[in-house]
C-alpha cells in the first residue's frame, strides 16, 4: 500500500476532495497546516508595526491507497489542486507496510 500526502491551498480543498471521490478514493484525512516555501509569506500591520508572516495556511491531505492506483491518485490531486500560481503545493508518496481498519481488523486492500 502507499501513503499519499498532499499539501494544497485551503480554498482548493473541496475541489480536490470531489476529484478524489470521483477517483474512488474512499478515505482521506485532512489537517490544517501552515507552510513555508517559495511562495513567501505576507505582511500584517498592527498599529503601524509590520509583522512578517512567512507561514501561510495550507491544507494537508493524507490517504492510504492501493499501489496500483497511487500514481493515478497523484495525477488527480495535481490536476484538481493546481492553479498555476506559486504556492500550489506538493504531493509525495511513501510506502506503507501494513494498514488495518480499526472497526473490523481487516488488513491491506480491504482496510481502505
Amino acid at each position: 500500500m502507499k501513503l499519499i500526502t498532499a499539501i494544497i491551498k485551503p480554498f482548493k480543498l473541496d475541489e480536490v476532495k470531489d476529484a478524489l471521490k470521483a477517483a474512488n478514493v474512499t478515505g482521506i484525512t485532512v489537517t490544517e497546516v501552515r507552510g513555508f516555501g517559495r511562495q513567501g509569506g505576507h505582511v500584517e500591520t498592527y498599529r503601524g508595526a509590520e509583522y512578517k508572516v512567512d507561514l501561510i495556511p495550507k491544507v494537508r491531505l493524507e490517504m492510504v491507497v492501493d499501489d496500483v492506483v497511487a500514481d493515478r491518485v497523484v495525477e488527480t490531486i495535481v490536476k484538481s489542486a493546481g492553479t498555476g500560481k506559486i504556492g500550489d503545493g506538493k504531493v509525495w508518496i511513501t510506502d506503507v507496510s501494513r494498514v488495518v481498519r480499526i472497526r473490523t481488523g481487516e488488513e491491506g486492500r480491504d482496510a481502505i
Binding site: 500584517e44 500591520t45 498592527y46 498599529r47 503601524g48 508595526a49 509583522y51 508572516v53
Partner: protein
C-alpha cells in the same frame, strides 16, 4: 442629589464598572494566546482589590475633607458617617469614584503584558493606588492643582496621564520581553473590549457631571463625537501611511479620542470635540511608534494612547474651554476669549502629575523588584504566563 441625578450617576457608575472588563478584553485580545488569562487577571484583580481598599481608606484620603491641598484624612475611614442623606447622592458619588479608582491601575497592565510576576502586580496595585493615584487625584479634585484653576472634567490628568506615565516607569524597571511582540491573538476580542469601553465611557464622562443636566448632555455629545473623530482620523492616517485601514486602528483611535476628550468633556462644545478627536487620533497614531524609536517595551501602547492622548486633550482645554456655553465659572480657552493662563495651568497640572507619578511609580517598582521581584521566570515567559502563573489555559476543546 435629586432623584434624576441619582439615577444618572448610578447607571454611570455601572457603566464605568463595566469598563474594566472591557479594558481586559481590549488588552487581552491584543495579547498572545498563551498570556491572555494573565492579562484578564491583572485587570479583574483591580476591580476586586480596589473597591475594598477604596471603601476602607481610599475615598477618605482622596476626597475628605475636600478642601485639603495635598491629601485627605481619616474622617470617612470605612465610609464612617456616610448616610443615605441627600437621597443617596453621597453614596452614589463614592461608588462612582470607586469605579475610577479601580480602572486606573488596570490601564497600566497593558504596558507590562507578558512578563510581570502576578504576585508583584498584586502588591503593586494597592501601593500604587495609595502612593500615586490617591494624592494626584486629590491635587486635581479639590487640591492645590484644582484650586489654581486647572481643569480636568473626568480624569485626563488624574487618570490617563497619571496611569500613562506610570506605565512608562513600570516598563523601564521591568525591561523588555524576551520574545518578539506577536500580532493580537483575537482581534474580535479586542473589538468586544472596544465596544464595551466606548459604551462605558459615556458614564465615565457624562456621569462626571454628577447630575442629569446640560453639562452632562454636552459631555455625552463630546464623548460620542471625539471617539468617532479620533477613530476616523487614526484609520485614515494609517490608510494613507500604511496602505490599509485596520480594525485595530479603529479601536485604538476610538480609545485615543475617548482619552483625549475625558478632561475636556464638560468644558468644550460645538466643533471642539471633533477637533480634539481628530488631533488625538493623528497624534496617537504616530505616538505609538515612539517606543520603537526610544526603545522601551510598552507592550500594548499605554504610553502612546493614554499618556499622549490624555496630555493632548488636557492641553487643548487651554484653547477650547468655553465657559459661556455652560454658563459656568471656569477660565476660557485661548480660542474662546481667554488668556494663556488656563493653558499654563493645564501644563502645570500635568507636569506635576507626571513628575510625581513617574518618580513614585519607578520607586515602587524598584522596591518590589529588590524584594519579591517583578519579573516572571524565563520559562514562564517563553511557554506562557497563563499556565505558569495561573494554572489555566485560555482555550480547550
Amino acid at each position: 442629589m435629586e432623584p434624576a441625578g441619582l439615577a444618572w450617576v448610578l447607571i454611570s457608575s455601572a457603566l464605568v464598572l463595566f469598563m474594566t472588563p472591557g479594558l481586559a478584553f481590549f488588552y487581552g485580545g491584543m495579547d498572545r494566546r498563551r498570556n491572555v488569562l494573565n492579562m484578564l487577571m491583572m485587570n479583574f484583580y483591580c476591580v476586586l482589590a480596589v473597591p475594598v481598599l477604596w471603601m476602607v481608606l481610599g475615598y477618605s484620603l482622596a476626597q475628605v475633607p475636600f478642601g485639603n491641598d495635598f491629601i485627605g484624612g481619616l474622617d470617612s475611614f470605612m465610609l464612617k458617617d456616610i448616610t443615605t442623606a441627600g437621597d443617596g447622592g453621597a453614596l452614589a458619588t463614592i461608588a462612582f469614584l470607586g469605579m475610577f479608582a479601580a480602572i486606573t491601575p488596570a490601564l497600566i497592565s497593558g504596558a507590562v503584558a507578558g512578563r510581570m510576576k502576578f504576585a508583584a502586580w498584586a502588591v503593586f496595585v494597592p501601593l500604587w493606588l495609595f502612593i500615586v493615584y490617591v494624592p494626584v487625584f486629590k491635587w486635581v479634585y479639590g487640591g492645590w492643582l484644582g484650586q489654581r484653576g486647572s481643569l480636568d472634567f473626568a480624569g485626563g490628568t488624574a487618570i490617563h496621564v497619571n496611569a500613562g506615565i506610570a506605565a512608562l516607569a513600570t516598563v523601564l524597571v521591568l525591561g523588555k520581553r524576551r520574545v518578539d511582540p506577536a500580532p493580537p491573538h483575537s482581534v474580535p476580542l479586542v473589538m468586544i473590549g472596544t465596544g464595551i469601553l466606548w459604551f462605558g465611557w459615556f458614564g465615565f464622562n457624562a456621569g462626571s457631571a454628577l447630575n442629569a443636566n446640560g453639562q452632562a448632555a454636552q459631555a455625552f455629545m463630546n464623548t460620542f463625537l471625539a471617539g468617532a473623530a479620533a477613530g476616523l482620523a487614526w484609520v485614515l492616517t494609517e490608510w494613507l501611511r500604511d496602505g490599509r485601514p485596520t480594525n485595530l486602528g479603529a479601536a485604538s483611535g476610538i480609545v485615543a479620542g475617548l482619552v483625549a476628550i475625558t478632561p475636556a468633556a464638560g468644558y468644550v462644545s460645538g466643533v471642539a470635540p471633533v477637533v480634539i478627536g481628530l488631533i488625538a487620533g493623528v497624534v496617537c497614531c504616530y505616538a505609538v511608534r515612539l517606543k520603537t524609536r526610544l526603545g522601551y517595551d510598552d507592550a500594548l501602547d499605554v504610553v502612546g494612547v493614554h499618556f499622549v492622548g490624555g496630555l493632548v486633550g488636557s492641553l487643548l482645554i487651554g484653547f477650547l474651554a468655553n465657559p459661556s456655553f455652560f454658563e459656568a465659572e471656569f477660565r476660557a480657552g485661548l480660542f474662546y476669549g481667554g488668556d494663556a493662563k488656563l493653558l499654563i495651568e493645564q501644563a502645570i497640572a500635568n507636569g506635576a502629575a507626571v513628575v510625581w507619578s513617574f518618580i513614585l511609580t519607578f520607586v515602587i517598582m524598584k522596591v518590589l523588584d529588590a524584594t519579591i521581584g517583578v519579573r516572571a521566570e524565563e520559562q514562564a515567559e517563553l511557554t506562557g504566563l497563563d499556565l505558569a502563573l495561573h494554572a489555566e489555559t485560555a482555550y480547550h476543546d
